[in-house]
Symmetry: C2
Subunit: 557 residues, 2 copies
């Protein structure tokens, strides 16, 4: 049904193991081996070769897919070993020629996605009982070591040659921006002066010093390297709370229809208005909830919250990479709030079942992905909508929300309501670790308590406004005008200023490793990605590999 004159955008995030070009995924009982074997000729875009197991977005799309599938399709796996299919090189990090040629927007988007994927690896280790460990043999540099840093244990071959390094600063005039700097000092607690030395030493560190400085967790003789790593993995897997023998949920290929004016999925339509720079997400809720955990399991990937999470996830990534001129995302919903709350109850009652746990964790990650997107977020709550419980999180994630007070002129539908569920009180933490309601009322526990007392009730516009859940509540007479003015005004502002503003206003209160990576580290990297010393004609990225030395403007800013 796609428009015949319409060329689909280049970047598709949908893949599956049988189509991987860069990773080898092998499941051996309770342990999975995830081997990096980058196809040099398999770059996502032309103009570079992926030498030395270096990666581009295409490699990372496969990694993300593998991490997702291990969670859902392999309940029996309690430990995942990241390793390299090459003996001499673990991974050289992000491909420099790719970075040198990429637009500023692509670089920023690429780093954000790779960061999210590494965070999802840590999330699996921390919350899914699927512990990632990293077996490093050969050179493990830059983004390669950042991948290792996202694992719970780094095992380094003690062969006099294998090393870890973060050579970005001395070699490329950019940062180890995929979590590297943050994880060194805030996760692994490497002493800051040692971290400083390490990050300014091109050749990196190996052997005993790497262990003494906490850069790795174990040194293992090269002779029995993989066997030793395998034994450690078995021991970790044995401690996992994942079911040893359960059948997984197959993540069937995601069906979507790509049109010139948007995307159509089973539970989600996205409509684009490119003139206004607007994407409207219409989320559809089912009429009924499965009556039991067994029914939900039988539905598998079609189980509504999982189906919707996958579709949202795919749509978010599609829009980020392929629709950069669409600066505002608007969330709407339609369906039965009672069914949404019933599904939330089912999730809540079975939250310690591995599959339900994965669904809840996936929702957490999708909601995080929405908030760290450099897009303005609006929610429109109209008659017929069903923003309840888990779906209400979309409203709470929005920068501003509008709720129609009363009925439409034609009164065909009753006035819109929203409803709270226990899920709104911390089940889906933001990157800061705080729930959205708690963050919204950070200094006002009384307001939070009042909301808790309102759980389950249908809240109309006035009550929602009184409780602080929505921003504005125009009636039918003003609705069209007010919403249009807000969206048009947004489209008129500088996209950069909006991205910066939103990144500061959305994340109040405490910080985590994750929020520090997105806020501090990424913001600095983005700044550096615009500096002539990195990207100018004499900058380090374009000159890399040319034999010419970068020439730096020496002023300190």
């Amino acid at each position: 049904m796609s428009d015949p004159g319409f060329t689909p955008p280049a970047i598709d995030f949908r893949t599956a193991p049988e189509r991987y070009r860069h990773w080898r995924l092998t499941v051996d009982g309770h342990v999975a081996w995830l081997g990096l074997a980058v196809d040099e000729q398999g770059g996502l875009m032309p103009g570079y070769e992926l030498k030395l197991n270096s990666y581009d977005l295409g490699v990372d799309i496969e990694l993300y897919d593998a991490v997702q599938r291990l969670r859902f399709e392999h309940p029996e796996v309690g430990c995942v070993i990241m390793h390299s299919a090459h003996e001499r090189v673990f991974c050289a990090g992000a491909n420099i020629r790719m970075l040198g040629r990429a637009s500023h927007a692509h670089k920023v988007n690429f780093c954000k996605f790779t960061n999210e994927t590494r965070n999802s690896i840590e999330d699996a280790s921390a919350h899914s009982g699927q512990i990632y460990i990293c077996a490093v043999r050969g050179s493990c540099a830059g983004g390669g070591y950042e991948l290792a840093l996202a694992c719970e244990e780094i095992i380094l071959a003690d062969d006099g040659a294998s090393s870890v390094s973060l050579p970005e600063v001395p070699l490329l005039a950019v940062l180890p921006g995929t979590g590297g700097l943050t994880r060194l000092v805030d996760k692994r607690h490497v002493r800051r002066d040692r971290a400083d030395f390490f990050c300014t030493t091109e050749e990196g560190v190996r052997g005993q010093r790497a262990l003494d400085w906490k850069l790795v967790d174990a040194l293992v003789p090269a002779s029995a390297f993989l066997a030793d790593v395998g034994t450690r993995a078995q021991a970790l897997a044995a401690r996992s709370d994942r079911p040893g023998a359960s059948t997984g949920v197959h993540l069937a290929p995601l069906a979507r229809e790509l049109r010139e004016d948007g995307l159509r999925y089973s539970q989600l339509d996205v409509t684009l208005d490119r003139a206004l720079g607007l994407a409207t997400f219409d989320v559809h809720a089912p009429r009924t909830a499965p009556d039991s955990l067994a029914s939900a399991l039988a539905q598998g990937a079609a189980f509504w919250p999982l189906a919707l999470a996958r579709e949202l996830d795919d749509a978010l990534l599609h829009l980020r990479f392929n629709e950069e001129y669409v600066g505002t995302w608007v969330f709407r919903s339609s369906g039965d709030a009672t069914a949404v709350l019933a599904i939330d109850d089912l999730l809540d009652a079975n939250s310690d079942h591995w599959f339900i746990r994965e669904v809840l964790l996936y929702w957490t990650r999708v909601l995080k992905r929405i908030e760290v997107s450099a897009r303005s977020l609006f929610a429109l709550i109209e008659p017929g909508s069903c923003f309840a419980g888990s779906l209400l999180e979309l409203v709470l994630a929005a920068d501003q929300s509008f709720m129609l007070d009363g009925s439409r002129d034609d009164a065909a539908l009753p006035p819109a309501t929203v409803a709270l569920h226990a899920h709104n009180f911390g089940r889906y933490p933001m990157v800061t670790g705080s729930g959205r309601v708690a963050a919204r009322f950070s200094a006002d526990p009384a307001a939070v308590a009042q909301l808790e007392r309102a759980i389950g009730r249908a809240l109309d516009a006035r009550e929602s406004a009184r409780l602080g859940l929505v921003t504005f509540t125009p009636d039918d007479i003003d609705w069209e005008h007010e919403v249009r003015i807000a969206l048009e005004a947004r489209a008129g502002f500088s996209p950069d200023a909006l991205s910066g503003m939103e990144a500061n206003l959305r994340f109040t209160g405490g910080e985590t490793l994750e929020s520090k990576i997105f806020a501090r580290l990424s913001a600095w990297q983005n700044w550096i990605f615009q500096r002539p010393n990195a990207v100018g004609p004499s900058g380090a990225l374009p000159l890399y590999g040319s034999g010419k030395r970068a020439r730096f403007e020496r002023g300190r800013v």
Copy 2:
């Protein structure tokens, strides 16, 4: 004594109330009035007029001086009222034409200094018993409102016209980057959707909505505005713990000799090696300590820790603004560690005396200023040095430190030692709120406990290395070579990458309002300050006031 062929740099941070052009400081018993009355023709640089009480660096240099003097020279003042000498306008914020003309480096430096000054205002309110309140009449926009946000109370005239606003995003395509965004949501706990609306609304908010949304703390009728504010100030001053009738310590003009190759003060020499981009700070410690609080008070501004703090402060600012090509700062010391520790004991024993408290707080701020400087920091610990207690904080602030193991070849001086004091365990918190020792060993309380047991002992190079206090300990044979290699390598790296790396490695662990302003907010603002939408030929800053509309590249990054 200055070189006759040498033109002194343009920016001098030394001033005094009798020379103010932009502020009127009046002390009335326990209350001080700090009135903004910007001289339109008094811009620090040519090319713009400071209309509508807008400010540039010159205005802020005076503000910083006033805040310092109020602390030291006016122990009787318990409350400071920030207000405007103009009835119709409080302050229009940073001068846009100045920003439009300024280099990227100046913009970033300017914002950092204004941020530090606002932080020092909050520090006075929080720790000095000198509470700042802000009386807003007329328009209070952008940086004007950010100044108000740094005060503990904002009192808005209820006259139907007075308003507060943060119009940076809609008007200028930049952020309210002087703490505005952070203080809205993290200090005042303005609900994030309201903050979003407020920051995208050029005209701002006034009257009851400003109060309801927590943008201000009180509405006061215009008829008795200043009288009412004065009464509130009296009440706040009455609750202050500052001595009502003590004599202040006059901050005598800072004597310094500016040479082409550096700066000379009484307790500090700074030597510049522009070829290597190196500034060496030689800190001199006294032979003896005052024998009592009374002696310290009698010394006044000559009391060593105060004298040194002032000199360091002036040197840091001088180097930041006037020596941007000097990218590495090296700290050395000479003198008697016993005297340094004795002074630390005196400070410790009298830390609740208003003057000693101010000295300790000033050291805290100077050390913070060092760490948020975009310069590489090294410490060299050699025979004859006296890095003990408060001075040891300079070593702990450094990115890397080198300590000479053993004596020099000539053995004229005994081997270098360092010494810990109770002050090293939290007395001088970093911007993150953590002490430097605690941050250095964030996951290792046993290491901290071991250091506590070493308080007061002279620790030689081997013991210092074992305890983790220093990075490298070459002996005399290797010293010259190792230090030179390290400093030369540093000089070869991209200054931007170093700034980004250091900003990420220095500040581990938790976050505060202050650290979020320097990390998240400033990093985003610096990014935006390079974006064509803000600073390009069709960007908002250069076109401001030209009658032409900025044209934005609409891609979202």
